[in-house]
């Protein structure tokens, strides 16, 4: 039986080379605007996808 299941692979490093284009939505974390962590933002860069 497998004792470890991978939910998400290593993605961060790969994203570094294409990233930072700035086309995605800004992501306010404050309680007054409905946004929080950046991690729930969608990437808008076609190359990234």
């Amino acid at each position: 039986m497998k004792l470890v299941k991978t939910l998400s692979k290593a993605t961060l490093k790969k994203s570094a080379c294409k990233g930072g284009c700035g086309e995605c939505q800004t992501s306010c974390q404050s309680a007054c605007k409905t946004s929080c962590t950046v991690a729930n933002q969608k990437c808008e860069n076609e190359k990234q996808k």
């Binding site: 039986m1 497998k2 004792l3 470890v4 299941k5 991978t6 939910l7 998400s8 692979k9 290593a10 993605t11 961060l12 490093k13 994203s15 570094a16 294409k18 990233g19 930072g20 700035g22 086309e23 995605c24 939505q25 800004t26 992501s27 306010c28 974390q29 404050s30 309680a31 007054c32 605007k33 409905t34 946004s35 929080c36 962590t37 950046v38 991690a39 729930n40 933002q41 969608k42 990437c43 808008e44 860069n45 990234q48 996808k49």
Partner: protein
């Protein structure tokens, strides 16, 4: 760095630098907890001896082998071996337009102090909004997507300005190769049918403020005469959402120390028929009666646990329902650069007051030390912009050892500043809540994966 936690019955291990996330059977979780890098090929004797009362030797060594495979593949105990190059240019591409420094409610926790930011009531004249649109077109350089958020106070008190601004921006976006996206945050009081249809046509997202159950909402979201707002706004929000079709909206609430049982408020929102919700912790000076303080954390954590179970139940039943703080995109989420840069306040994102003054964000509006300039031309204060631009999570001492750094990006600079006088110094309570929410969010992803597998 590896972070191991248990939530919703899953043992979860996050390899922070690679971004990999694993779900572990108990034996594997116990083994992993005893390991420190670098890993060697065979399971160390002391690991076996420490766990042999709980698991068979085969289970322990099998678990170890699987973990060792992940280690070799760069998905466990990874160190960052690359540079994160953050672009030095920060073109402005998102504006928070403070359409009204005025409000028709007097919510007791309002950071804008009754909507006027303690600066006097004012509606933004169209000339200012127009100048702001010209300003963002000029400053956004080659960025195509431009976000304009109509904010307040209550922006519908300046509905006329909102409409003219949208019309103006739309009339010139093509020639400048821009794509404007508008959003608006409202308390709903001024939502007539005409307003609803207009917002549904023009706004890509609308944030509707409601705190949940009637007694919770009406204890804090009160009118000028101190009466509750629930009965006046809920029917309007329901009608609005019905007319909106499938487009984005959020019912957003705030929880305070007075409703630490906020999972009930989220459930109530669902009962009202809303499907996209957000209920977030208030951030106030600790002396405020509504502030969430250290002693409230255990109750808040327990409530997030409860909400996680509620959400799992909804998912199991195939009920579409979003709770914003539990949304996390593990596959196509943002690049690492965005993750370390965070909110973009004072860089990509700035706020414009009714007078046309530019501030790093809506929470800094009115703080003269942070004024960047105006939308009417002239230079913006580069030293402040640089300060915000450099304030990535990698520059924040307290975040260095924090497992949440690539998800949180170092917290809200305004909260940090208000709590600690330094945009680089995280607000402890917010950190605690942030980390808890992330654990819940990731556990729900594990749950979803299970559901799919068993389908």
């Amino acid at each position: 760095m590896v972070h191991i936690f248990k939530q919703l019955g899953y043992n979860i291990a996050m390899d922070i630098e690679s971004g990999a996330i694993h779900i572990l059977e108990d034996a594997a979780a116990e083994v992993l907890k005893l390991l420190t890098p670098p890993m060697v090929e065979n399971c160390p004797e002391d690991v076996i001896s420490q766990l042999k009362d709980k698991f068979s030797e085969k289970e322990i060594t099998d678990a170890y082998s699987e973990l060792y495979e992940l280690y070799k593949e760069g998905m466990l105990f990874t160190e960052r071996d690359y540079e994160i190059n953050i672009p030095q240019e920060y073109p402005i591409k998102a504006l928070c337009l403070h359409i009204a420094h005025d409000c028709n409610l007097r919510c007791k926790y309002c950071f804008a102090e009754g909507g006027d930011y303690a600066k006097g009531r004012k509606i933004m004249p169209f000339e200012v909004a127009k100048a702001a649109i010209d300003f963002v077109i000029e400053k956004s350089g080659t960025r195509r997507n431009i976000e304009i958020d109509f904010f307040g106070g209550e922006p519908l008190m300046g509905y006329d300005t909102v409409k003219k601004t949208v019309e103006y921006a739309r009339s010139i976006e093509k020639e400048h190769h821009k794509n404007f996206r508008f959003t608006l945050t409202t308390n709903g009081l001024l939502m007539s049918e005409e307003v609803m249809d207009y917002l549904n046509k023009e706004m890509s997202n609308v944030v509707l403020s409601l705190d949940g159950r009637k007694e919770v909402n009406d204890a804090v979201r009160v009118g000028i005469n101190n009466t509750g707002s629930y009965d006046r706004i809920v029917p309007k929000f329901q009608e609005f959402v019905k007319r909106r079709g499938g487009q984005n909206y959020y019912i957003r609430g705030t929880f305070t120390s007075a409703n630490l049982d906020f999972a009930e408020d989220v459930k109530h929102m669902k009962e009202l028929g809303f499907k996209q919700t957000s209920v977030e912790p208030v951030v106030l000076d600790p002396s405020s009666p509504f502030a969430i303080r250290e002693e409230h954390l255990p109750a808040a954590f327990a409530e997030y646990d409860k909400l996680t179970e509620v959400m799992a139940e909804y998912k199991k039943n195939g009920d579409f329902f979003n709770f914003f703080h539990f949304m996390v995109d593990l596959d196509q989420g943002p690049c690492v650069i965005k993750r370390v840069k965070g909110c973009g306040c004072g860089g990509e994102y700035v706020a414009v007051t009714p007078d046309g003054d530019v501030f790093p964000c809506h929470r800094f509006a009115g703080m003269e030390d942070f004024k960047l300039g105006t939308v009417f031309g002239g230079e913006l204060k580069q030293d402040i912009i640089d300060k915000f631009g450099e304030s990535t999570v990698l520059k924040k001492k307290d975040c260095e050892e924090c497992w949440a750094k690539y998800f949180c990006s170092g917290g809200c600079p305004a909260n940090n500043y208000n709590a600690n006088g330094d945009i680089l110094k995280p607000h402890k309570i917010s950190c605690e809540l942030e980390r808890k929410r992330l654990e819940c969010a990731i556990a729900l992803k594990a749950f979803e994966a299970d559901l799919q597998e068993n389908d």
